[in-house]
């Protein structure tokens, strides 16, 4: 009997021990990744430190702060600088690679003008363009839709792809960065980096997205890199909900294209469409102005906006309020929008609560004395049985109309609509 019990226990214990072994394996893998990330983070710090001095002293010499520099010396210093920049990118790539593997890649998305980012990326690679006697140009319409993206990450993708294109384009060749609304996927923008370089064959084209893979002919080149650029770019684009692909023909050049979703408020609203929130029948849209110093430089305006947003994040109720991201290029840095699921009668209470909370949390020196707010009610569609995404799209369109119609952040007269805090 005891023997039978033991066997029975052993049979019972088997799946449990399997489960435990699985958990232990998972934990060990997690620990290994953490160790790997910690190690890479440490190594990258140790590499960036001397690189930083190389970079700083080289720019000092180039700027003539240590005396005149001959044309020949300038040329050599530019080579040093270009290589230092490349090393910096490679260190960043290694860290991003570890994060992709451990699922710790975090995005900080915001409403962003893709056109400006493309121009900025092209300007940053001007030295490589000049050195290679290549023409680098852009081609996109002025009304290119805005994208909800992590600008730093997409900048990384753009510089990776453009730098790659420059590397593989012979003297006198062309690199063009194009962007347009995707023809096949209207809710996406498509960006292509096209070059007139050597191109790559179909066998290699399949493998270039693998980690550390380098086209064999490239391995002989003096600027080989780590073979991570395309892999990382693809991971970053995927994390944004887009896709990245490559078309190439030997001897005719290469086009690497990626898509990014056009900015929409709907995906942000969707998670809040619970039965309880929908039963309110309406939402209160609150426009808030947190007065900022007027002489803000563009760079400082961004920092101010970030600090103010942090204060507001603490003033909203999770689960029923949303602090909307900046979604209009004209939105001034001291204007913010909150959307709250509430009865129309609650509008004043909500505005009052936000003002009270802002006063409580605000950093004394950051904002002026008064907080201004304007609220309006947005009715939810009567039929709330359809797909939630349709309801989210409806709300999103209404918000855009309110912002557009009220001219909340553009026309000075709209300022009169703000209720000044006593």
């Amino acid at each position: 009997m005891r023997e039978r019990n033991r066997r029975w226990q052993a049979q019972e214990a088997l799946p449990r021990s399997d489960e435990r072994a699985g958990q232990e394996r998972e934990k060990a893998a997690g620990d290994r990744m953490q160790l790997e990330e910690g190690f890479l983070s440490h190594v990258s710090h140790e590499l960036r430190t001397p690189l930083s001095s190389i970079h700083q002293f080289t720019t000092l010499l180039l700027d003539g702060l240590a005396g005149d520099v001959s044309a020949e010396a300038r040329e050599y210093l530019e080579v040093v600088l270009r290589n230092a920049e490349q090393l910096k990118r490679m260190i960043g790539d290694l860290l991003t690679l570890t994060r992709c593997g451990s699922g710790k890649l975090t995005l900080d998305p915001a409403f962003t003008s893709l056109g400006e980012l493309i121009q900025h990326a092209c300007r940053s690679l001007q030295a490589a363009v000049t050195a290679g006697s290549i023409s680098l140009s852009t081609d996109f319409p002025s009304n290119l839709p805005a994208v909800y993206m992590d600008a730093a990450r997409i900048y990384e993708v753009l510089t990776n792809l453009i730098d790659n294109a420059i590397k593989h384009t012979p003297r006198g060749g062309k690199v063009v960065v194009k962007a347009e609304r995707s023809k096949n996927r209207p809710k996406f923008v498509r960006v292509s980096v096209c070059d007139t370089g050597h191109g790559i064959g179909p066998e290699n084209a399949k493998r270039v997205f693998e980690r550390f893979y380098q086209v064999p002919e490239d391995a002989a080149s003096s600027r080989r890199g780590l073979g991570l650029g395309l892999y990382i770019s693809q991971e970053l684009i995927k994390a944004h909900g887009g896709s990245l692909g490559l078309e190439s023909e030997l001897g005719h050049g290469t086009a690497v294209s990626f898509t990014l979703p056009i900015f929409s408020l709907a995906p942000l609203i969707l998670p809040l469409l619970s039965a309880q929130n929908l039963s309110k029948g309406s939402m209160v849209f609150v426009a808030i102005k947190l007065p900022a110093p007027e002489e803000l430089s563009a760079r400082h305006a961004q920092r101010y906006s970030r600090a103010a947003r942090k204060v507001l994040e603490r003033c909203i109720r999770s689960g029923s309020d949303i602090l909307l991201p900046r979604f209009d290029a004209n939105q001034s840095p001291d204007h913010f929008y909150v959307l709250a699921f509430a009865d129309p009668g609650e509008a004043e209470t909500i505005v009052h609560r936000i003002k009270q909370d802002v006063s409580r949390f605000q950093a004394a020196a950051l904002f002026g004395e008064s907080v201004e707010a304007f609220s309006t009610t947005i009715a939810l569609p009567r039929s709330r049985t359809g797909p939630l995404l349709e309801i989210a799209n409806h709300i999103s369109r209404r918000i855009e109309k309110v912002v557009e119609g009220e001219g909340l952040h553009r026309q000075p007269e709209s300022e009169k609509r703000f209720i000044r805090q006593p």
Partner: protein
């Protein structure tokens, strides 16, 4: 016109030297500190207008220095720009929470660094003017 004084806190003496040259060439007066202890001493002795602060330092990290500065009324409003070789992930958010005016990563683009310094000094000036107006 007032010449602003900047305290650079960094334990990498080569970088300290290069950055000092860069800032002096842009009409700033520069004082230096190479560890956490001397950073605190130099802040009270030299009364800088702004601090460029590294995070990894002997004798206590940059976060500890910011904590000390922000908790003392005389230095609470002193702008601090974090300039570090450490990874932005995690550190950037922590630096802003500790009250940093900006977070920049080494090797830094000089235009960005000078822009950040100028911007942070602008805010201090604006706040001072607002207080006078009140």
């Amino acid at each position: 016109m007032k010449i602003n004084k900047i305290l650079i806190v960094d334990d990498d003496r080569d970088f300290l030297r290069a950055l000092t040259l860069r800032l002096k060439a842009n009409n700033y007066q520069v004082v230096q500190a190479v560890d956490a202890g001397s950073a605190i001493v130099m802040t009270s002795r030299e009364s800088p207008d702004l601090i460029v602060l590294d995070l990894g330092l002997p004798g206590g990290d940059g976060f500890l220095i910011m904590q000390r500065l922000k908790s003392a009324p005389s230095t609470a409003a002193l702008p601090v720009i974090v300039l570090t070789a450490k990874d932005a992930e995690g550190n950037q958010e922590r630096a802003y929470e500790a009250g940093a005016a900006d977070f920049l990563q080494k090797p830094v683009n000089n235009e960005w660094l000078l822009g950040a310094i100028e911007g942070a000094l602008d805010v201090v000036q604006h706040v001072a003017l607002q207080q006078i107006a009140r």
